[in-house]
Point group: C2
């Protein structure tokens, strides 16, 4: 089994209360792919510039990630700068240089076309829809988006959501997408736009999955997974993409995608996000073991399950 991930590869310059990192490998597709690589085969589609070296690519190869879908364009790789104040909940963007990412038109290598799972990281909704249509054999598509597209391209985004099985966004994005202040009401309206399941990420409070009626088997209720209470978050960048990587990666590796599997996947999403924030950039996601991941899964279980 394998999953195709489409999104950004970037070099990030990050300042947090714990320190600073310059031009470290990041981007939504990078975080996603590294996190998912502990569960399944990952095939990456992205664009990079001349400054993306063999050493950078080797970070992905070491995790077994297929990089044939990385387009090498002339110019510089996407660069993003962000800083976090004490509460760490929101990044303040200090600069965005799209560079080669500005003209990104995802090309799917024909070797990728037999993948049954697809993740559309946060890129322009029309590009997301194009990729989904090209990947004809896909059984399940996960998707992320952000306030920028919700505000600027609502019609295009609505079209994309019709093609998506699981949408992963945060509280503010869910409320903004349907103009609602109440979360479960917002969830119901988002599900009416197309997705069969909606994962709403609550940052340090975990995440909730809401199911469309009758989707993924029988069940009445949403399901909530915790986040790990962490005393020192070094760098929250990429936590959401790492969550998506753990969530989707776990799904791909299961025989069947049903509600019980989606619940556990939500826990694995939280697990991967909790690792990602322990160090700057993608560092922690590069050197995990499956034993560490399953050990932390047990901690998440103890956090919420009584005997």
């Amino acid at each position: 089994m394998s999953i195709v991930a489409v999104g950004s590869v970037a070099f990030d310059t990050i300042a947090t209360p714990s320190g600073r990192a310059e031009n470290v490998l990041g981007g939504s597709a990078t975080y996603f792919s590294l996190a998912a690589s502990y569960f399944t085969d990952v095939r990456l589609v992205a664009v990079v510039g001349d400054d993306f070296t063999a050493e950078h690519e080797n970070v992905l190869h070491k995790r077994g990630i297929d990089t044939r879908g990385i387009e090498h364009a002339r110019g510089k790789t996407f660069r993003w700068g962000g800083s976090y104040s004490d509460n760490l909940n929101e990044a303040k963007t200090t600069f965005t240089h799209l560079n080669v990412f500005e003209a990104f038109r995802p090309q799917i290598p024909k070797e990728y076309l037999d993948s049954e799972f697809l993740f559309l990281a946060n890129i322009q909704p029309t590009l997301q829809a194009d990729v989904r249509r090209k990947m004809r054999g896909v059984r399940l598509t996960g998707c992320d988006t952000m306030n920028y597209w919700i505000n600027r391209t609502p019609k295009e985004l609505a079209e994309t959501l019709k093609l998506v099985d699981v949408l992963l966004i945060n509280d503010a994005e869910a409320k903004m997408l349907v103009g609602e202040t109440n979360l479960p009401r917002a969830a119901r309206k988002v599900l009416a736009m197309g997705p069969q399941a909606l994962v709403i990420k609550h940052g340090e409070y975990g995440a909730t999955i809401f199911f469309g009626e009758g989707a993924f088997g029988i069940g009445r209720h949403p399901f909530r997974a915790p986040a790990l209470p962490i005393e020192e978050v070094k760098d929250p960048t990429g936590a959401g993409d790492s969550f998506a990587g753990g969530f989707m990666g776990y799904l791909v590796a299961q025989k069947e995608v049903n509600r019980e599997v989606l619940k556990r996947a939500l826990f694995y999403g939280g697990v991967m996000a909790s690792f990602a924030v322990e160090r700057f950039g993608t560092e922690r996601l590069q050197s995990l073991t499956r034993e560490e991941i399953d050990g932390r899964f047990q901690i998440f279980r103890e956090l919420t399950h009584f005997e």
Copy 2:
């Protein structure tokens, strides 16, 4: 088994996006006592004025609450007015008339002195400490406080916390109490002030209990309970006190207070809060059944437990 609850009885005037209610029976001790009354015997200590009628007292008697500790003073009962905007997370106080509550000096009837559990709702910390000292046979004391006391009487509050076993406060209060921005770090510092366990309420995201080292048996981790995703919150007033009532009430009814029991108590706290907000004031808490409560407990379990 029984619990003594000390706090306010009030008449509230509340405006929310769902409607308005005038002079409805409220107050921290009222919400607490009603919620706890479904689990154990509750003995109330509070002060009311001439406007508190036999009909009001009957609301408490119907739930078997011992009202011998209610002092009837000359003047009006405490009155509070609050309004909520769309997000419902924070009340805007429109008026506070302390009335007879201003001179409240809790008197414990001697018939109450054999209670082994005590809950100190949000009142002046020195009064809380006085009550705790008078209740010599108490095995476990729960306590609430608020930003007003954290800012105005930090020394007195610190003295009170040395006498408390379980403190129940919200995120902002925990962070303010110890001057911390990170929640688990704040929790560690609060536990160092005295309590053996700290319950931090996250509103719509549930609650987390942090344990002092070695307190309540063996265990490494905090524990997190969900809140119920509710499409229509009619009136959030008293949710925190109802949470405390469910939490403490469940504890009192158990043979032993250990970590497993505290985890389940956290769920019952959420359950009682979820009922409280379904109608205005204490209405919903007046007419529940234990079957409804246990049914909702199962929903909370399904919200967080996988097979």
